[in-house]
């Protein structure tokens, strides 16, 4: 399981202790840009944001986590009793909250409930896009029920794309996020794998991976509906 994002850095000691005892992995971040840098390849499992010290900073980060193509879920906010008013009109920024000082068992129970609701705690993890289904547990992918014969890197690339639809990635980002540091072929490797993935997806679905000229690649339609301009290469 990917780690939880925790704010602020360093987090309150009781929070650290609770997460560690409950067996959650986590990474502390001081602001949204550090959160983006530290984000694991498969995305954050969720976030626990403490508004006790720096309330403004806390809601800035919540907003950043929610304003993405694939919002981070679940987000739990820790607030003091006199901060409850701050939650008003910010209901879109979090999934649940916990009053401080919190009881460790209560926080644990809330996180478990949130995870259950988000579907992460049950059954095999599945990513879907259109009629594409990727089972993260068995590593198998299928389009319209037809299993795809993928190499490991093709599978990883497709999984990354499908979990971040609509977002444009540069080749460098894809290399560092999908390949990590031990790649052999240099940045052109991405182009080569994209071609292979398109070939294996078949003519009807090859267009899912769009080439964004002089930037990189995008999987699926842009959120802003820019159609027709960025055609896939032949």
């Amino acid at each position: 399981m990917e780690p939880f994002l925790v704010f602020p850095d360093p987090p309150p000691p009781l929070l650290v202790q609770t997460l560690d005892l409950a067996g959650y992995s986590w990474k502390a971040v001081a602001n949204a840009s550090i959160a983006a840098q530290l984000e694991p390849p498969d995305g954050w499992s969720g976030a626990v944001v403490s508004a006790e010290g720096d309330a403004e900073g806390a809601f800035v980060i919540c907003r950043a986590l929610r304003r993405r193509d694939v919002p981070v879920q679940p987000v739990l906010v820790l607030v003091a009793g006199n901060q409850l008013g701050d939650l008003e009109l910010r209901e879109d920024l979090f999934d649940d909250f916990c009053l401080t000082p919190f009881h460790p068992k209560e926080l644990e129970a809330r996180l478990r409930l949130l995870a259950w609701r988000a579907g992460r705690a049950t059954g095999p993890e599945v990513v879907e896009y259109g009629d594409l289904v990727i089972n993260l547990e068995t590593y198998q992918a299928a389009v319209g029920g037809r299993p795809l014969d993928l190499t490991y890197m093709e599978h990883e690339l497709l999984k990354f794309f499908a979990t971040h639809p609509g977002k444009v990635f540069t080749r460098e980002t894809l290399l560092s996020r999908v390949w990590g540091y031990e790649y052999y072929g240099g940045a052109r490797t991405v182009d080569v794998h994209v071609r292979r993935l398109r070939a294996k997806l078949g003519d009807d679905h090859a267009g899912w991976i769009q080439t964004v000229r002089s930037v990189g690649y995008r999987f699926g339609q842009s959120r802003w509906g820019v159609g027709g301009v960025n055609r896939p290469e032949g």
């Binding site: 068995t138 590593y139 198998q140 299993p147 014969d149 190499t151 490991y152 890197m153 093709e154 599978h155 080749r171 460098e172 052999y184 072929g185 240099g186 940045a187 052109r188 490797t189 080569v192 071609r195 292979r196 070939a199 294996k200």
Partner: protein, 440 residues
């Protein structure tokens, strides 16, 4: 790495794969294959599968005949066999000695070693070969399927249907095709593979030859990569487009240069030209290869470079799409070479040129082919070896080739090919019987 192993094992289980084919290549470039069951796979990935190396050409040394073939999980592909529901898995292997050292006689290791040298200098080596071959009615006689020619499209083109099936099979195996068409000679085909890093491409060339032959066989036709199957027709080449990248930047490109070529590119080309004679025994490794390298059939003969002359040994194509297209095309190799060794030597020759700062000779002009031998000599234009024997002589004296291939492969190759030449030399050809029997 661990996840990659898990991916392979899990996929084999989930997809009901019953056989895993392990592929490797001998020194002559012949594909070797053996099958294991999924139950053996974990062990194979971990420590390798033992086999008797003395049965493989170029591997044998009696005292060390046990070898281990360890599959490279990055090359894991599922292949569909017609009529079989469950796919078959396939992986390329690296060969190890029983003590766990990479085996010097493994061509894949030769290439990996050479690529590592390029990487130490910050270069990634990309390769894109144009694969030519013939379809014939059988393996015993070169009877063509058609009398068509370059770019011809005939309504009942049996060969174009075969080519289409081949391309579909290649694409489903993750080998993207750039371009394909009917070649100049009757029944001759060309399929160009999209560039990729050289190690993957060498694997792809091995898979390519297999797929072309299998698809042909399934339709009762024979496909051959023999360099010159019919005298008087064009032979089959493997023109190879080469480029070096430094990260995302094409190291061959210089917008400010008259030819668009960087110092790196010029050194690389000069290296290819300088060492061309020495590496020809490997890029053109059969007696028959030298029947292709003659004037009049668009095959290279003279050691020179040019931008638009398709008979030059090194051609610098005009880039199609911005700077990432800058590349050089080495036109000597034929499709019956060992791609691991051929790519290794082309790269090493080019790198040597960069490293030693060889000077690029002037571009060849069209009239080079109309010059007399004396005029060419005066211009300092040399020729490729005339025969396998001449090529072996040049190779034998090459420090570069000895260093790149390593002692084991270098010695075996020379010994093996000298034998081939001796067999050929002792054979009385139909040419001689037809020409001499009645008159002498």
């Amino acid at each position: 790495m661990e996840r990659q192993l898990e991916y392979v094992l899990r996929t084999v289980e989930e997809r009901n794969v019953r056989f895993v084919r392990l592929w490797f290549t001998d020194v002559q470039g012949m594909l070797k294959s053996f099958a294991i069951t999924p139950a053996e796979l974990e062990d194979a990935l971990d420590s390798g599968m033992e086999f008797d190396g003395s049965c493989i050409d170029g591997f044998s040394r009696i005292q060390e005949s046990d070898m281990m073939a360890r599959p490279d999980p990055g090359t894991f592909e599922l292949v569909h066999v017609p009529g079989e529901e469950a796919p078959v898995a396939r992986m390329f292997c690296d060969i190890y000695t029983p003590s766990g050292e990479p085996f010097d006689g493994d061509p894949r290791y030769v290439l990996k070693r050479t690529l590592e040298k390029a990487r130490e200098r910050g270069f990634t080596f990309y390769v894109s070969p144009e694969m030519e071959y013939f379809y014939f009615r059988s393996a015993s006689e070169p009877i063509p399927l058609d009398q068509a020619s370059y770019f011809d499209l005939t309504p009942s083109d049996e060969a174009s249907e075969l080519r289409k099936q081949t391309i579909l099979a290649l694409e489903s195996m993750g080998i993207p095709v750039q371009y394909s068409h009917h070649e100049i000679a009757p029944s001759q085909q060309e399929i160009d593979l999209r560039y990729t890093d050289a190690l993957t491409m060498a694997d792809n060339v091995m898979a390519f030859r297999m797929v072309v032959k299998e698809v042909a066989q399934s339709r009762g036709v024979y496909a051959t990569f023999m360099p010159k199957p019919v005298a008087g027709w064009n032979g089959s080449a493997m023109h190879t487009h080469l480029s070096l990248f430094e990260g995302d930047v094409n190291a061959f490109h210089d917008a400010g240069d008259e030819y668009g070529l960087s110092t790196v590119a010029k050194g690389f080309i000069a290296g290819l030209l300088h060492h061309a004679k020495e590496i020809t025994a490997v890029t053109n490794q059969w007696v028959n290869s030298y029947k292709r390298l003659i004037p009049g059939f668009e095959a290279p003969v003279y050691i020179c470079w040019a931008r638009n002359n398709r008979s030059a040994l090194v051609r610098v194509p005009i880039p199609r799409r911005g700077e990432s297209g800058s590349r050089v095309e080495y036109r000597a190799p034929d499709p019956a070479c060992n791609p691991y060794l051929a790519f290794s030597l082309m790269l090493a020759a080019g790198l040597r040129g960069i490293e030693k700062g060889y000077e690029l000779p002037p571009e060849a002009t069209n009239n080079i082919y109309e010059m007399t031998p004396e005029e060419r000599m005066a211009e300092g234009i040399d020729s490729l070896p005339n025969s396998l024997s001449e090529a072996l002589d040049a190779m034998e004296h090459s420090d570069l080739v000895a260093e790149v291939l390593g002692e084991h492969v270098f010695d075996y190759f020379l010994r093996n090919k000298r034998l081939e030449w001796a067999d050929y030399k002792s054979y009385v050809t139909p040419f001689e019987v037809n020409r001499y029997l009645g008159t002498l």
